[in-house]
Amino acid sequence: MIWRIAMRNLIQHRTKTIIIGSLVALGIMLTLIGNCLITTMGSGITKSFTDNFTGEILVTASGAKAGVFGAQSDEMFGPPVISVLKDYDAALAKVKALPGLKSWTPQLSGYAVFNFEEKGSDFSLLFGIDPADYFKSMDNVNIISGRRLAPGEEGMMLNRKMQDSLKKSMSVNLKVGDTIQLNSFGDAGFKIREVPIVAIFEFKAANQRIFTPSFVDSTTLRVLLGKNVGPTEKVQVSKEATALIDANPDSLFGDDTTAAAQTVSGSGKVLTEQGLKTMLGGKVAASVPPPGGGAWNFILVRLNPGVKAEPLIKELNREFEKDGIKANAQGWQISGSPDSYTFAALGLIFNIAMILLAVVSIIIIMNTLVISVMERTSEIGTMRALGAQKMLVRKMFIAETLSVTVLFGLVGIVLGAIVVAILNVVGLPADSDFLAVIFGGKILKPVVSLKPLLTSMGLILLIGSVSWIYPVALALKVSPLKAITTD
C-alpha cells in the first residue's frame, strides 16, 4: 500500500518527479563517466610508468627523494643528486623473497652533457643499465634504427626525442654508428667519455613529456658519475668502446683501461697522485670492488600480473626497517611526478566536483520534497487522523525518495555505461602532450569498471538516504488537526 501510494504520487506529480529524476540520472551518469575516465586514465598512466620507467616497485636508497628521473621540484638548479643504493645486496635479497615477484633489474640514473665541441652542448638524462637484465624486465622501447645494447657492450641507445632536439637546436645529426662525447662535472670532478650510438629508439609510452632519457651501459654512466665500478664491468669493458680524449691517452692508461680519460677542467692544476685517482674514477675505485658488482641507484621490481603492489611496498619497507637496510620501496608515483601529481590533482578536483554534485542534488531533492510535504499537509493530516502512525508517514516519504533516486539513478548508470561504451569504441584522442600524459597514451579508451559502478551506486544510496531526512522530519510534525484546518 505504501509503495502503491508512493508510486501513484510520483506519477501524479510527474513534472516534479521527472525534474528530480533527470537531475539524479544526469548526476549519476556524469559521475560514472567521469569515474570511468579517471580510472582508465589511472591505470593507463600507472601502466605506462610501471611498464616503461619504474616497475611496479622502485627500490631507492633510503631518504632519496629522487625517482628514476632524478630529484623533484625542490631541485631547481643543476643536475639532481641521485643517491646510490649502498645496501644494494641486502635490499635485493629482500626483493628476491617477495611473493609474486616476476623479475627485477638494477638501474642507474644520471645527467650528462652531450658535448659537440664548437656546435654546442646539451644536458640529458641517462639510464645506466645492464641490457640483458633490463630489457628482460622492461619491454619498453621501440628500436627505430640499430639494435639494443648487447650485454657488456659500451654504447648508447639514443632517445629519438633527444636526437630531434639536437637536430633542431644545434643541427647535430646523430645516427647509429656515430660516437658521442659525454661529459660530466660534479663532486667527482670532470669526466669525459666517448661511446658509440648503437640505436635510435623511442619509449613505447607516450608520456615522456619532460624527460627524454637515453640508455647507456652502466659502466659508462658509473664512470661519468664517479661511482664505484664493479669487477664485472671492469672485465667486460672493451677497448674499442673506450676513447680517451685527453692528450696522450694511451701512454696514460693503456689499452685495458676501464674508465674514461679526464682532465681537471681548466684549472691548470698539477696532477697529483690523489688528483689522478679521482679523475680516473672508475678504474681507481674498481681496485676496491664493492659487493654486488658496482654501484646502482635503483632496483626496478616487476610483479606477476594481478599482484597488488601496495601491500608488497609496505612489506618491503617493514623488512628494510627491521634489518636496518638503508633502502626504501615506493610505487611509480615518485618517479611519475609531476605527472602523477597532475593526475592526483585531477582526481581530487573530480572528487570535489562529485561531492558538490551530490550535495546540490540532495539540496534540490530536499527542497522539492519540502514543497511536496507542504502541499500535502492536508493529506498527511488526514492519514494521521484516520489512524496512520508517524512511522507510516515516514515510510511513505522514504519510499517516494528511494524509488525516484534508485530508479533514475539506475537509468543514469545505464546511460553512463552506454556513453563510456561508445567512447571505448570511438576513443578519445590526446591531441596534446599533456593529454597524452593524462590519458597514459595517444588515445583513451575508457572502460566501465567495478569501482566506478560501485561509487555511482553508493552515491545513489547516499542521495536516496539523506535527502528525505529533513522533509520527513517536517512531515512528522504535521498534526492530524491539519486534516481539518487546511484545505
Binding site: I5, L386, G387, I484
Partner: protein, 230 residues
Amino acid sequence: MSIINLSQVKKHYSLGKTTVEAVRGVDLTIEKGDFISIAGPSGSGKSTILNMIGLIDTPTEGEVTIAGENIGKLDDTGLTRLRHEAIGFIFQSFNLIPVLNTRENIEFPLLLGKNGKITAEKRDWIDFLIEEVGLGDRVKNKPNELSGGQRQRVAIARALVTKPMIVLADEPTANLDSNTGEAILELMKKINKDSGTTFIFSTHDHKVVQIADHVVRLLDGLIVEDSRRN
C-alpha cells in the same frame, strides 16, 4: 452506556498576546448509539469539541474520556491507536486520498492496523459498504472523478470500514447542496439505526438539526441547550 464524557473541558488558543477561549467549561455525556447534533453559529466551538472527541486535539483543562480512556494520559502513538480503533471521521471537505480510487480509499484505514491484511471477510464488508453508500458503479474512480456527494459517500464508507464505536462528522453537509446534504444525513441516520454506531455531527444549519435525536447547542464556547427527542 456512556462512551464519551467531557467534564469541565476548556480549550484556549493563544494568539500572540491574546488568548482565545474556544471552549469555556463544557460537561457532556454521549451514549452509545446516539445520533447527535452539535449545533451553533460559526465560531461557537463546535469543531474544537469534535476535535477533542476525535483525539486530534487535547483540552487545555478538564478531562475527556473516550471508551473509558482518559485521553490526557495518552501519547501520540496511543492516541493514534485509539483513534484508529474507536473513531471514524467524515470531513467537511471529504479529505479523500487523491491518488487512490473509491475502493482503495475505503480500504485504506484497514491497512493501518496491526493486522493490515485484507481478508475475505473484510472484502465482503467493503463490498457491503460500497453498495450501502450506493457507489457500486464508481469503485475504480479517483476522487477527482466523483461529485461532492459521491465523495462524501466514499468518506462515510471509509469512516465505517473499521467498525468504529463513534463516527464524527464536522459539518458534513457544508460543501454540498441541500438535497445532497439531506441524502447524506439520511444515509448516516440509516446506518446509525442499522448498526448502532454512535454518530456525532456538527452543523450551523437549523434545518439539518431536525434529523438528530440528541441536540447540543453551543454559543461562545458554552453549552446552552442539551436535549433529547424521543
